[in-house]
Every structure is written in C-alpha cells, then in structure tokens.
C-alpha cells in the first residue's frame, strides 16, 4: 500500500474554546481529531493550566490540504484577534487516504 500525503494541523488554544472549535471543525468537513491537555506560553503570556481559565488544549487534525487551508483561514478570521491561539501545519503520510 502506497502512503498518501495529507496535512496535520495542530491548534494550541484556550481550553474554554474546546466545544466551539470542535463544532467548527465538524462544519468545515474534518473527519476526526485528537485532543491533549496542555500548558504553555505565547504572546498572551503564561498559561500554566493551574485552573480552568489558564488551561490550554492541543488539537490535532489530519486532513487534506484544502481542508487544512480552509480551517486555518477560518481560525485566523474568528479567533486570532481575541484568543490565545497558535496554529501550525505539517506534511504527513497516511495509509488510508479515504479516512481523512
């Protein structure tokens, strides 16, 4: 089986956004995601996950390049200004292209 090229989009943002972001991802056509709890530092200061308001999540989505682009654009437009959020995109290989 040949590996197929896809994109891995990683979003690190405030835990309070979890519900909203998952609804957005669904609507933008992604088929799955993985979430881990995280803490960190960025423009908006230290978020050390000591309690609800300072906790981050780290969402990973494997999808095709078009969807990755669409999601990036959507997030930039809706969240970058008001929320702690960092996004990066990586090239990945998967075995089951139909899954993503």
């Amino acid at each position: 089986m040949e590996p197929h090229a896809r994109k891995l989009l990683t979003i690190v943002t405030e835990a309070a956004l979890e519900g909203k972001i998952l609804r957005d991802l669904e609507q933008l056509g992604t088929r799955g995601h993985t979430i881990t709890d995280a803490r960190g530092k960025g423009r908006r200061g230290v978020r050390d996950a000591g309690w609800e308001a300072s906790a981050n999540i780290r969402v990973e989505v494997v999808c095709d390049a078009g969807t990755a682009q669409a999601v990036s654009a959507y997030l930039r437009e809706h969240y970058y200004r008001d929320y702690a959020m960092t996004v990066w995109v990586i090239d990945v290989e998967v075995l089951r292209p139909e899954k993503f």
């Binding site: 000591g50 309690w51 308001a53 300072s54």
Partner: protein, 310 residues
C-alpha cells in the same frame, strides 16, 4: 485571630510568590471544588425542605435585583473613571455583580467558628446571584443586538459546572431532607473545612500568579478592586436589612455582594464577550478582591452588620 483555613490561603500566596514548586494537580483542584459546591448546595437544600419556598420569594427577587444593580453600578465607574474599553468595563462589571463561591465558603467558616447563626437557605440566594450580572455584562458589551445568540449564552450560563453542582446539590438536599443527607455528612459536612483548606491553598497559589497581571494594569484597577467590594457590601447590608435578614444573614449577603466571580463569569465572558481582556478582570477579582475579602473584608462586613443590627 485568623481562621486556620485562611492560613492555608496565606501559605498558598507565600509559596506562589516565593516561586515554590508546590502545585496542586488540576484534578485535585476540581475534586475539591466539586465537593465544596455540592456541600454548599446540599446544606441549602436541606434547609429549603423545612420552609415553604413561597416565603423566600421576596428575598429571591430582592437579591436578583441587587445583582442587576451592582453590575450596572460598576460599569460607569469603570468606563468613565477608569477609561476602560466598553467591553472590558462590561466584563469587569459582570464579575463584580456576580458572586464567588469560595468567598461565600470562607464567610460560612468565619461565622461558624464565631458561633453566629445565619439563614441556612443562603445557597439558594448564592445561585440566584450568579446569573443576573452575566446578562447585564453581555448587554452592556453588545447592546441588545439580535446577533447575540441568547440560547447558547443561556446554555453556557446555566449549564456551567458551578450552577449545575450548586443547583443539583440544592435539589438533592431538598428532596432528601435532613435525615436523607445524614449518610452523606461525613464527606460533605465533616470534611468541609479540611476541603476548604485545600481549596484555599490552591487559591493562594493562583492568586499569587495574578500579581504580574496586576502590576501591568495599574492604580485604578487596584483601587476599584478594593473600593467596589466595600461599596457592594454596603448595598448588600442595606438589602439584607430591607429583607429582614438576621445578623449572620446580613454578613453573608454583604459578603456575597462584595465578592467577585472568578469561575462562572470568566468562562461566560470568554465565550460571549471575547474582545474583553481576561487578565484585567482576573487580576482584579482574583488578585485583589478575593484576598481582600477573605483577609480583611469579612471582618469589616461583620462589624458593619453588627453596627446596623445593634
């Protein structure tokens, strides 16, 4: 002398400021919060079982009105004196119009160790006070625009952890009645002060972490974070007198009025008024008002209540 539970708060602040590596795991903080919320709810519910809800209606209405009023009073001060952006002023006003369960628990412990009785249905008023200020804050920030999705705002507000556990506890306590909750008492009543001590230890650590935010936002916010609770306590004391509360009940209502939310309101504002800067409101509510109330405010409100009652 300071209540020992308060000393745990001081320990937490000290450890935080000294950059100790002490940290409570998030899961422990959540467990402790859940037990406190349920315990407060249960206790209030048991009391509700003893008296017709109808009789409490005046108090319920009065307290909701007070919540609206406090948020509305805070806004122009923040906007005009503080020259804060509209969204920030609205958000901070919502924090101060609403209440802090942690501060309530400390007031309960304070009155308990001094043997001052108070109306045991106070948790009902606590729940009622959480909500109105949130609505005021959103309307102040947004106007009554049709684009506000009130459905999801209401969902956010009423189904947040805090209200579900408080209200759930109230209903269970009310349904189970005084004898029903006896087997639950070892966890929810006997351990209450110990659990509150752990909670305040963690609150101290969190409070210490807000100091950075404070330094950046200057003198006005600091003054507001002490002046507003004092003003609110006066309003709370007046409301309590109007509603005919006992001495203890007056202290509790003044404390509730003086307290600023740091759980329900921040979460609601983050989703509904995202443009508001959360470090401003948290630095004020957690970094100054919470320690102020816990360390100094409650005794002041006690003195105030004694004066007006006496």
């Amino acid at each position: 002398m300071l209540d020992p539970v308060i000393l745990f708060f001081v320990l937490g602040i000290a450890a935080g400021l000294l950059r100790s590596e002490l940290r409570l795991p998030a899961a422990v903080y959540e467990l402790v919060t859940i037990v406190l919320l349920l315990a407060i709810g249960l206790k209030g519910g048991v009391e509700l079982a003893k008296q017709p809800l109808g009789e409490l209606l005046p108090q319920m209405v009065g307290v909701v009105a007070m919540g609206f009023l406090l948020a509305l009073a805070a806004f122009p001060v923040l906007r005009l004196l503080g020259r804060l952006a509209r969204v920030d002023a609205a958000s901070i006003a919502a924090h101060y119009g609403s209440v802090s369960v942690g501060t309530y628990a400390v007031a309960v412990a304070y009155l308990g160790s001094r043997g001052v009785p108070f109306e045991e249905h106070m948790p009902l008023l606590l729940v009622l006070l959480e909500v109105p200020a949130i609505l005021v804050g959103i309307v102040l920030a947004r106007g009554v625009s049709r684009s506000t999705r009130w459905g999801s705002v209401m969902h956010e507000v009423f189904l947040g952890k805090g209200i579900v556990l408080l209200l759930g506890g109230l209903l269970i306590g009310w349904a189970a009645g005084p004898e029903g909750v006896v087997p639950l008492e070892p966890l929810f009543m006997d351990l209450f002060k110990g659990v509150l001590a752990l909670f305040l230890l963690e609150m101290g650590l969190i409070t210490a972490g807000q100091v950075g935010g404070l330094r950046r936002h200057g003198v006005f916010l600091g003054a507001f974070a002490i002046g507003m609770p004092l003003f609110s306590a006066v309003v709370g004391t007046g409301t309590a007198m109007l509603l005919g509360l006992s001495l203890g009940g007056t202290v509790v209502l003044a404390t509730l009025a003086a307290s600023a939310s740091y759980i329900a309101v921040p979460a609601a504002m983050r989703i509904s008024v995202p443009e508001a800067n959360p470090t401003l409101s948290l630095a004020a509510a957690l970094g100054i008002t919470f320690p102020f109330n816990v360390l100094i405010g409650i005794p002041i409100y006690h003195a105030m209540a004694t004066w007006v009652h006496g």
